[in-house]
Amino acid sequence: VTRGGQMVYGRYADSLFLDPVLNDANLDIWILTNLYDTLLQPTDDGKSVRPGLASAYVLSPDKKTLTLTLRPGIKFADGSPILASDVKWSLDRARDPNNGAWNGLLDSIASVAASGNTITLNLKHPDPSLTAALATFNAAIMPQKLFNAAPGKTDADKAKAFAEKPIGSGPFVLSEWKRGSYMVLKRNPYYWKKGEDGKALPYLDTLRFEIIPDDSTRILKLQAGEIQGAEFIPLSRVAELKANSKLNMLLFPSTKVNDIIMNNRPKLKDGTPNPLSDVRVRQAINYATDKTALIQLVTFGNGKPMNSFMSSATPLFDKGQKGYPYDLNKAKALLSAAGYKNGIDVTSMATSGSADDQALLTALQQMWGAAGIRLKIEQLDTATKTARYRANDFQMRTGAWTDDIADPSEITGYYAVFGATEAAHTGFKNDTLEKLFDQSQQEVSAVKRIGLYRQIQTLYANAAPTVFLFETPYPVALAKNVKGFVQIPLGYNIFERTSLEK
């Protein structure tokens, strides 16, 4: 490998808030691990974990205590040592229910104890997803002293100040941030991981994020050699860039699923009866959806049909799921059986200005029309769409999901379990499924858990609260000389092993 140099990476939008606990958006999450390190880390396939700041961890036989050993000699980017107290403080902050949106991931922890280089987590109950949670961005270890030294009275104020110039222990450290324009990350000289050459990672001296909102401009800039990487390449241009010999067009497997979320309640918000409350109708819609054609049209062949509500890159995905093959006759039959011989009228919310939503829904309009499902598209701006969705005031909407944690519980808790968000606001509730899920949350045996998840996925598929569509990869284009970059299925951009070859 070649060491040194600066890599410029074109992002479509800037990060908002670089606090691991209080941030809200993928814009932050997907780059945070470059700045902050976690005790454990997700593997590159996103399905399991490997040691991070903790070199080892042991689960007690009763599965209610997790003991982690801190790696010796680890330091924050300012050179100060990472102490067990920093770890305890960080984890306590991350699991504080008053802090941010992610504390639920660490919900099972009853208390954290730190002594020497040992961290002991006492659990309320066995938690099969705990190790994955510890490899998630919000469980990042932050320097307690520096954080407390930041100006501001409350934790929230301090967080704001600290996040402007964060010091973590990730491979890079923020050196300059011109909001909306660029962000410069410098190599963290104290990073613990070693590269192929036996010296400390990362290889790059500087990593620079340029914010280039327009897709075409981002690509032009990459083609002109002004930047070495660009994210979110429109799928329509993948083929073109693949053919470009100066570029490496990569499609990283992702946990991203694209679906149509349906309102399963008998009545819509405005009181009109909702045919989608009939499972046969929901199944019919699924059968009427030609995923292969959609993948061709919307993703230009760069997608995979969904057979479960979760992506095939999510741990415990059941390969045996059949999903809904395209079957127009079955669709029609089911509709008739449900008493809708003349078809039904449905309305879907779409995000205005989203080319993908446009393409998708116009295609569905045609497909479903053949089965007598007359789709009306209602374009809304994101804020309005979200507000309507959260108020359960919709019939259908385009939906997409990416996992944040290498565990199926997150997506399942959101999609399949009623919970606080009413099963992705579909209103779907299946008591058996709920029981299975509760069980799976405490089932530490991997094999048993696989079985539970198989049942969950089958139950969900049969009830069809959503329309399964397709999975899409993360399209990233890189200059030919860029090596060692990965975007893991959780979306994290991993630059620690990235190098610019001659």
Binding site: D215, S216, P234, S236, R237, E240, A293, Q296, L297, F300, T351, S352, G353, S354, A355, Q358, A359, L361, T362, A363, Q365, Q366, I377, E378, Q379, L380, D381, A383, T384
Partner: protein, 266 residues
């Protein structure tokens, strides 16, 4: 006296109107139907303007788009024109405090960021052409108000207008029959420019997702849709772009021609 500019403009307009009124006669295909087998085809005899990423025939979409874009041109300007012109005439002719009040409101409209207004309206009513019309109308009247007001201020001092008063005609007659017809020309000429601006605005808002919604074949949105294919399928945005230019030229020619034709002979 023959007016070549106006004549050419009117001929072009006629062509546009024809396409707008009878797209189904002219267009070889449906503007919205997909053809999976003909995705991103370059111009051929079958598809003279090529096809887009859904296999839709660009020629047909451009032809069907005429109606949409002419509609945008008319609806973004008609209300502002009527309202602004009438209000301008009234405030200039009679209004003391009304004139001042409308002036303040106009100031407010001008300094208020248009985009905030559009998005606010779109957020309440949803995106789409109708709501774009509302947003544009809420702002667009100011230009016409200004133009007409200024012109009426001038015209009401003209001797023919004073003559109408001295002839004992009622104020309404003086304003509507005498002053307004002579004060409306700048507004009509501006109307033509404004129509192309309206179409352009529609395209810009389309770029931000606030304009015409798919699968509506609107030229501006079509150009935007073709943005990602400029390197591989130039035809997707080029032909609607040409259509936009043609419409712009048409309105501009008619505008220039009208300015000439409507100027009263001294």
């Amino acid at each position: 006296m023959p007016k070549p500019t106006l004549l050419i403009g009117l001929v072009l307009l006629l062509i546009l109107l024809l396409a707008a009124l009878a797209p189904h006669v002219l267009a070889p295909y449906s503007p919205t139907d997909f053809d999976y087998k003909a995705i991103l085809n370059p111009p051929t005899a079958r598809h003279p303007f090529g096809t887009d990423n859904f296999g839709r025939d660009i020629l047909s979409r451009v032809i069907y788009g005429t109606r949409i874009d002419l509609q945008i041109a008319v609806f973004t300007t008609l209300f502002p024109f009527l309202f602004g012109t009438l209000l301008g005439a009234l405030t200039a002719f009679r209004g003391r405090w009304a004139d001042a009040l409308v002036g303040r409101i106009a100031d407010l409209v001008v300094v208020f960021p248009f985009l905030v207004l559009v998005i606010a309206i779109v957020a309440v009513l949803g995106p789409g052409l109708t709501n774009m019309y509302i947003a544009v109308s809420a702002v667009g009247w100011v230009s016409y108000w200004r133009l007409t007001r200024g012109e009426v201020m001038v015209q009401k001092k003209a001797e023919y207008a004073q003559a109408a008063q001295v002839l004992g005609y009622s104020p309404a007659r003086t304003l509507l029959r005498h002053i307004l017809p002579n004060a409306v020309t700048p507004s009509i000429v501006y109307l033509m420019t404004d129509m192309s601006l309206g179409i352009l605005l529609g395209a810009s808002l389309g770029y931000l997702g606030l304009g015409a919604q798919p699968p509506t074949p609107e030229w501006g949105v079509m150009v935007a849709d073709g943005k990602n294919f400029m390197a591989t399928a130039w035809w997707i945005s080029t032909f609607p772009g040409l259509a936009l230019t043609l419409a712009g030229v048409t309105f501009s020619l008619i505008g220039d021609g009208l300015a000439d034709a409507l100027r009263p002979r001294a």
